[in-house]
């Protein structure tokens, strides 16, 4: 019983990250029908910028070693502000260089160009910070919190809470505000939206900015758990993309659901046979794609001719 509870807690913590990154996929997919396949590397950029800002604020070099007392909540939030600034700029840059030229064009040029953009970010990070992972203690300490015999780290609770909050906030913005209406209109039909006086390019850029910032936020949140490593992006992005596919790429709630499902499957299967984790996830993806291709919460769109 204790083991299952522990697996559930660990799974929710892991799933929160997948969910956050999956949301980023959802936003650009809904507005431009493109995805940033460099999302994982944006997460890497977020993690390193966050850790570096905390290091600099603590008076250490950009590859120093952080002690638990160096990481305060104020510094951590300053890191977040820095990440939003840099990642927003990166998102705009990505859109103009690697997405806009190919939107609407036949073929999948944007797949390659966004992957390429990600690789450029990754190698830039490699050049600046080197291959060694940077450890960052959590601003909320490393004391394990016990829930019915199972343990969870404060940072893991933070990830869970933030991912749920972000989901709720996005949901509210999309459904209750004017800008949300505009985003939905662009997602539904770009030309009609433009005719209705909606500034479509601005909405699309906003989508890329939000998507990049979510990846950056993900990076800052996972850094205290996984350490900031140049190579961590690909695995996380692949899992997040899987989560989006399972839950429904066009539905933000589906992406969140997919993320948590994946995290739970990973840790629960681990209780049984750890080496079957990846197999079970991808078997699930295939089953979902066969039975409900639009994802569990996705909307089936009837193509009208």
């Amino acid at each position: 019983m204790e083991a299952i509870l522990q697996a559930v807690l660990s799974g929710l913590a892991l799933g929160g990250i997948y969910a956050l990154v999956a949301l980023g996929f959802n936003i650009t997919n809904n507005t431009t029908k493109t995805l940033n396949f460099g999302q994982g590397e944006f997460l890497v950029a977020g993690a390193f910028i966050g850790v570096t800002l905390v290091l600099v604020l603590s008076g250490k070099g950009h590859t120093g070693v952080l002690q638990p007392e160096d990481v305060t909540i104020v510094k951590y939030l300053t890191g977040l502000v820095g990440i939003i600034a840099v990642l927003s700029a990166l998102g705009v840059f990505l859109y103009y260089t690697a997405v806009k030229p190919f939107v609407g064009a036949a073929g999948l040029a944007w797949v390659m160009s966004t992957i390429g953009f990600g690789i450029i970010i990754q190698n830039t990070a490699l050049g600046i910070w080197g291959p060694a992972p940077l450890a960052m203690p959590s601003p909320f300490g490393n004391e394990v919190i016990r829930i019915g015999g199972a343990g969870i780290l404060p940072q893991e609770i933070l990830i869970f809470v933030v991912s749920v909050l972000v989901m709720v906030a996005l949901d509210l913005v999309l459904l209750k505000t004017k800008i949300g209406k505009a985003v939905r209109a662009v997602a539904h039909n770009k030309n009609a939206a433009a005719l209705m006086g909606i500034n479509v390019p601005a909405i699309v850029i906003l989508a890329f900015v939000v998507s990049s910032c979510l990846a950056g936020l993900g990076g800052l949140l996972v850094a205290p758990i996984t350490t900031a490593s140049v190579f961590m992006g690909l695995t996380l992005a692949l899992k997040a993309f899987s989560a989006a596919i399972i839950g429904g790429l066009d539905n933000p709630r589906g992406c969140i659901l997919g993320g948590f499902m994946l995290g739970l499957i990973e840790s629960l299967i681990g209780l049984w046979h750890a080496e079957l984790r990846e197999i079970s996830i991808f078997v699930l993806i295939i089953v979902v794609l066969v039975v409900k291709p639009e994802g569990l919460l996705g909307r089936r769109i009837a193509e009208k001719v």
């Binding site: 204790e2 083991a3 522990q6 697996a7 660990s10 913590a13 892991l14 070693v65 638990p68 080197g130 291959p131 060694a132 992972p133 450890a135 203690p137 490393n142 394990v144 016990r146 199972a150 343990g151 969870i152 780290l153 758990i225 996984t226 350490t227 190579f231 961590m232 695995t235 840790s267 629960l268 299967i269 681990g270 209780l271 750890a274 080496e275």
Partner: protein, 398 residues
Amino acid sequence: MSFARRPFIAALAALPFVFAAFSASAQDIKIGYNSDQSGGGAAEHGLSGLYGVQAALEDINKAGGVLGRKIVLINRDDTGQPPKSIQNMNELIDSEKVAAVIGPTNTGNALAWLHLPQQKKIPVISHVATGTDITKRYEKEAKNYIFRVSMVDREQVALLVAYAVKASKTKKIALIADSTGYGQGGVKDATEILKLHGLTPVANEKFQPKDTDMTSQLSKVKTSGADVLVVYALADANAHLMKSMEKMAYFPVTLGSWANLATPFVNIAGKKLAENLIFAASVTETSNERAKALNARILAKEKNLPIFVCAAQGYDSMVILAAAIKKAGSIDGEKIRDALEAIDGVQGIIKMYNNPFSKTDHEGLGVADFRLAKWKDGKVVDFEDAIAKSLTAADLKK
């Protein structure tokens, strides 16, 4: 015009001096150093090893060098990449004409180029890489050019299992490892050695090298009733394992390989949690007076020395090589190789090397030279308890 010509004339005038400088260095004995100094997780090992080799060279050259000649080090960084490591080896042997090579840090890189020195008759001392195969590949040849002064996977597992068997009250020992060749190689060795002790592991769990939560696997270990756990994985994964143990408040006696000497282990796990793992090492900076002195000496020069053990093994590799060149009376690779199998009484940092190598045994260090160590307050120290002290040669089955 004269403006442009002047540097040219100056260069011409300097030429004889340049030649003089080159001819002087032609007298020097060149030793190659090929290891990861900037790439992946092994960069710390490569750099620390380099500091040790440099310290040894300083001592050797201060005492007049070998055969009346100075020894110089030709350093190459392989960034952890096998292709780069092969290229370095070709350069060192063919262009630089080194007499011997010390390196590399990664077992995979060693296995990628071992045929080069073997064919070109250049002796190699592996000062970091631990793969059991490295010295074994050319064992059956008339002359094996590959030697080692480092930990060996099989030998360190022998020590860990010997301790595990004595420390376990229930005789229930579990294994956990990453899914790579490194981890699974360790599991294979540990399973075989446990068998020699008449035991089989009660649990055998795997995780991915990049996993950060091992609570599920640990739950199974816990259910198996194991009171001792042997882990074979790299430093960062081991640190996450310790964090998962803390979540479950489950701390069996945990033993690991020397990979835990690397600083990511203590940086990720934190100083306190890092103290819960006991691991194998050939020496620590507190093991003996020579080690203390070398550690202090390198720290006075370099801003940090991440892995002292590698520096000590680098130092010893270099003094052993110098002793062999002296005995061979030549810098011919084949003669140095023969001399390596014949040298005796070479004082190193880790120990006094009495006949370290023979025709059949190219391992300078073995399980008898290894000790247990642990992190204490952010530093590696010798670990000694009643069980460790009671281990005898008969316990160290391999």
